[in-house]
Amino acid sequence: MQSGALTRERDVREAYAAHSGELFGFAVRSLGDRGLAEEAVQETFLRAWRAGDRFDPQIGSLRTWLFAILRNVVIDLGRARAARPGVAEGGIEPAVEPLEEALLSWQVEEAMRRIGEDHRRVLVETHYRGRPYAEVAEELGVPEGTVKSRVYYGLRALRIALEEMGYEG
């Protein structure tokens, strides 16, 4: 058995402790349903364990491998749901965006949650709400130059958070 392979139950427990939060977050975002998302995460770890000796840390990280499996599971669940229209009735609208884009959206939102509050706030106020830097500076009681530099450091922090999540843009 190669080191890093996911062949023992203990390996699965460790992988679950390290990655289940992120996987679940993305599954909820894609499927729009907590119950289905739990099903997806469970299926992901089962498939990972069954194919555990195929995992090669030389090729890519465990996290990347699990996300690739989850991606397939989400596609399968989406198909199964489409084949049984009654199941989705009354439920939350499933994500209609393509899965790659859903993953990227989720990563950006997760990265935004990970950066500091000061940085997030200036990005939200100036970029998403389109407010003038001067107005935001006054509201925060800081010089306008500080808002500008927080936008810079905020984007950098975002880039680092995204890289930590495997994005290599």
């Binding site: 890519g60 499996i69 843009g169």
Partner: protein
């Protein structure tokens, strides 16, 4: 990050506002004059630009919601299922049935999340239509990527930029490296596609970018070839 020279500090602090299009014309012109002569700051600007292009994908209403957590006992339920499956001796059979599927799942990991990429050419892959989602409302970019033995052929059509605008097209590889695909000029009234090529296999391509004037637009690229392989296996397994 590239090493920052002390004299670059003030320029650096403007790069966020620059990437998000919030400098006025004079500030932008002054900064671009600096970027023309400073490869380090230029690299930083391009890198922030890539991040800035992703922002429209996110919904700010979700930033304040804590990430959802799975039920506390989900880990235990998974462990129990795996334990039961192991005891039932299903594993050997499952492994035979799924072996190929997970080899391709690993291939998808490489192609989609791009930690590692498939070697070699990929002429068997279909052409890919690329969507640029983060462009302003008045700018439209359509592009198709076709795999060839020599790399990737790019057909691109841009609408909404000033006539005569120089468009520099590039692909990004697995490690974020930039492979130039050449340039074209947008001409008003010209409905033809620009045809360009880059020496990077489509399966290794992470993103397609175009710098039109002083704005850069980037769209992610994924490998349909690897996805198709997984689909075939799933049909076989059912």
């Amino acid at each position: 990050m590239k090493a920052e020279r002390p004299e670059c500090r003030d320029w650096r602090l403007s790069l966020g506002a620059y990437a998000l299009g919030r400098l006025d014309a004079d500030q932008r012109a002054a900064l671009e004059a600096h970027l023309d002569g400073c490869p380090q700051c230029r690299a930083e600007a391009e890198s922030l630009d890539t991040v800035a292009q992703l922002l429209p994908l996110a919904d700010p209403a979700r930033f304040d919601h804590p990430a959802p957590k799975p039920a506390a006992d989900l880990g235990e339920r998974i462990a129990a299922t795996i334990g039961a499956e192991r005891r039932a001796g299903k594993r050997r059979r499952q492994r035979r049935r799924f072996a190929f599927g997970f080899a391709t799942a690993a291939a998808t990991a490489a192609a989609v999340l791009a930690i590692v990429l498939l070697p070699g050419g990929d002429q068997g892959e279909p052409a890919q239509h690329i969507s640029f989602h983060s462009t302003p409302a008045d700018i439209h970019i359509w592009a198709t990527l076709e795999p060839h033995a020599y790399g990737t052929e790019i057909h691109m059509y841009v609408k909404g930029v000033r006539s005569g605008t120089l468009c520099q097209v590039f692909l990004r590889g697995p490690h974020g490296e930039r492979v130039s695909a050449g340039t074209f000029r947008y001409r008003w009234g010209d409905d033809s596609d620009a045809v360009l090529s880059a020496a990077l296999d489509l399966s290794r391509t992470r993103a397609l970018g175009v710098r039109a004037g002083n704005r850069t637009f980037i769209a992610p690229v994924d490998s349909k070839g690897a996805t198709a392989l997984v689909k075939e296996e799933q049909e076989e397994a059912t």
